[in-house]
């Protein structure tokens, strides 16, 4: 594979993957920047693995039929993805997306996860036991 890496995943491919990732794990409050991580990660994969590069290229082409995938309505994008569910390309995008989207601090903030704790002194003084809608089960016994 001697293609320059910018051409391995061009802007159309990146836009397609970003839209596909959002369709797979749709959080309306998250910006496209979070989903763009998936294309960046797949570009790395493509750079290291010519077989994967070809699979991504073919998969992106298949998603972009008569109209660009990224321009389709959300329902159309969903139906299009269902049509390729189970393919190697779909699983590559999905398995990359689930890791990238749910390891992003912006997603953590959205779902209410505080991330690394050791540097903040753990939770011993920051609410490890602050749930107040149930009693201490052992004290209650």
């Amino acid at each position: 594979m001697s293609t320059p890496e910018t051409a391995i995943l061009g802007s159309r491919a990146l836009a397609t993957i970003t839209a596909a990732a959002r369709t797979m794990y749709p959080h309306d409050a998250l910006s496209d920047d979070v989903y763009a991580r998936v294309g960046e990660k797949l570009a790395e994969t493509a750079r290291d693995d010519s077989g994967a590069a070809q699979m991504i290229e073919d998969g992106v082409s298949a998603l972009n039929g008569d109209r660009a995938f990224a321009e389709l309505s959300a329902d159309e994008q969903l139906e299009t993805l269902k049509g390729i569910e189970g393919s190697d390309f779909f699983e590559l995008v999905r398995s990359t997306a689930v890791v990238e989207v749910y390891s992003d601090q912006r997603t953590w903030q959205l779902v209410g996860y505080e991330g690394p704790s050791f540097d903040k002194g753990g939770y011993i003084n920051r609410g490890f036991n602050d749930l107040d809608w149930l009693p201490d089960p052992e004290a209650a016994s």
Partner: protein, 532 residues
């Protein structure tokens, strides 16, 4: 503090041809504890470890980054009807490749086996499809070693050590369990400090138990046993050293270990005794890879039992969402247990018991494991409930089956050119029935505190890997005797969970440590008697 702390590697303490040393392969719960115990008794030990010598300062509070730092990710293959073969075909087990082994990501649940769990075979007779065998020892043989182990590990609720406080996730599970009628509900016996002890601090409730404990509040062989052994001057720890083969002489006694060092060079270390503690998959693989004309089916395998009877515990999880916040990730990950279902009551439709134990995952792992390969808006909505979610783990007896086994896959080679292990598992109907019962019990616990929705989560890659070199009274039934000594090879020992004849319901680490302490007593006595 270990001499490797600044990254410098001390020269080997003992010469490669020093045949007076005992070589221990693997530095986890079994190998790390045994190595220290032998050093304390004046024995010279070479401790060979495949992983790097990370220190707690190096650990990262990030699930995927930590997995890539600590987990055993060398290639493996799978087969059989278990869901792992479909969902995680190249990651059958989640164990660690680092100095300290899997104790580094151990949450610390310390549950003793029950007396009847050593003799399921005689309690229930034969069970179709199961290769059941009684242990050659019983609870009374292990009790003194359990006592020592609990003191050594600093287990809460023993030796005057205060109980862990209830965290948010436990308040949900604990109250649900009480309302559902369960009695054995507590924050458990845990191997982390609730008060400073043994030079290690009390927990700051920072979570991240599976990512390595940065503050050393948890016992591990990395932070407790190995530093103690190093103080004796009798430990020669060799990290980044992958054991390839155990070598023997014409008489069938082992004489040393061939390994590949950090620079990729083959090394041979002579030994008086070799103790294998590589976790059940790699222990079986190493024995099978050490075959010869004298041992055509693998070392110490005249019984044909090496690699067979692989057990991984029942496992499964239940998560639930609530209309109020939980924040299950705050605090010690597994400090909570419900013990009622650990009784032996075949009236439930299965033999053996199970525990419900506290569990939380961060969004990174939860998204991968909650419903493998799920996607779409419903899944995303569930994830948005993350901070309103509580979780528990189900762990129970898994019956041994002859064909649930580790074999060598000669079609796939690792970075050292060695055949990779294949792990084959078919679920047994007993385990399937127990899992259904356990899922329903977990759901009833969360329903009792008004869960909005509950989720049955299939087993993760296995952390409890057991049984592939089992103990037996008779040589034809197993691989090692009651002290872990190979039936076929007098100076070869197995020192990890591979020796477990049956799995019991309990998390295995406490028992692995107790067995290592018992084995150390035996080896010392045999050395003194000139029998090794």
């Amino acid at each position: 503090m270990s001499p490797q702390h600044d990254g410098r590697r001390p020269a080997s303490r003992f010469a490669a041809d020093d045949s007076d040393v005992i070589v221990v392969i693997g530095s986890g719960a079994g190998g790390g504890t045994l190595a220290n115990e032998l050093c304390q008794r004046g024995v010279k030990v070479v401790l060979i470890e495949a992983g790097r010598h990370h220190q707690p300062e190096d650990f990262v509070n990030d699930e995927w980054a930590s997995l890539n730092q600590l987990a055993w990710l060398d290639e493996r293959t799978t087969s059989g009807s278990w869901r792992i073969a479909e969902e995680f075909p190249n990651l059958p087990a989640w164990t660690c490749k680092t100095v300290g082994g899997t104790t580094v990501h151990w949450a610390g649940c310390c549950v003793r086996f029950k007396d009847w769990e050593f003799r399921i075979r005689s309690e229930h007779g034969p069970i179709d499809g199961a290769s059941l065998l009684d242990w050659p020892i019983g609870l009374s043989d292990l009790e003194p070693y359990y006592d020592k182990s609990e003191d050594r590990l600093g287990v809460t609720r023993t030796n005057g050590i205060p109980a862990p406080p209830a965290n948010n996730n436990f308040k949900v599970m604990g109250n649900g369990a009480r309302r559902a009628g369960y009695k054995g509900v507590s924050t458990g016996r845990m191997a982390f400090n609730t008060v400073p002890r043994d030079g290690r601090s009390a927990t700051i409730q920072d979570g991240f138990n599976y990512q390595g404990d940065k503050q050393r509040a948890h016992w591990s062989t990395l932070t407790a046993e190995i530093p103690e052994a190093e103080k004796t001057g009798r430990l020669d720890l060799r990290p980044e050293s992958m054991a390839i083969r155990i070598e023997h002489d014409d008489s069938g006694k082992v004489i040393g270990v061939l390994y590949v060092d950090a620079e990729g060079n083959e090394q041979r270390q002579k030994a008086r005794v070799v103790c294998v503690a590589c976790n059940a998959i790699e222990t079986a693989r190493l024995l099978l890879n050490s075959g010869s004309s004298l041992f055509p089916d693998g070392l110490a395998n005249s019984s044909g039992q090496v690699g067979r009877n692989y057990m991984r515990h029942l496992t499964g999880s239940v998560f639930a969402t609530f209309d109020k916040p939980v924040r299950m990730y705050r605090g010690e990950t597994m400090a909570g247990i419900v013990t009622d279902e650990s009784r032996n009551d075949p009236g439930r439709g299965f033999v053996g018991g199970y525990y419900m134990q506290l569990l939380s995952l961060g969004p990174s792992f939860l998204s991968t494991f909650l419903s493998p390969r799920a996607w779409g808006r419903d899944f995303a909505k569930i994830m948005e409930q993350y901070d309103h979610m509580a979780g528990m783990w189900l762990v129970g007896e898994d019956l041994p089956q002859a064909d649930n086994r580790v074999t060598l896959n000669r079609d796939v080679r690792d970075q050292f050119g060695q055949p990779v292990p294949n792990v084959h598992v078919d679920d047994h109907p007993n385990g399937t029935a127990m899992r259904e019962h356990a899922y329903a019990a977990g759901e009833s616990v969360y329903a009792a505190v008004d869960a909005l929705r509950t989720f049955r989560v299939s087993p993760y890659p296995t952390t409890h890997n057991l049984g592939t070199a089992r103990m037996s009274a008779r040589p034809e039934d197993g691989v090692v005797n009651e002290f872990g000594r190979a039936h076929d090879v007098p100076n070869l020992f197995v020192s990890d969970g591979s020796v477990m004849t049956t799995a019991a319901a309990a998390n295995p680490t406490l028992t692995i440590v107790a067995l290592a302490l018992r084995q150390a007593d035996y080896i010392e006595q045999q050395l003194k008697a000139g029998a090794l």
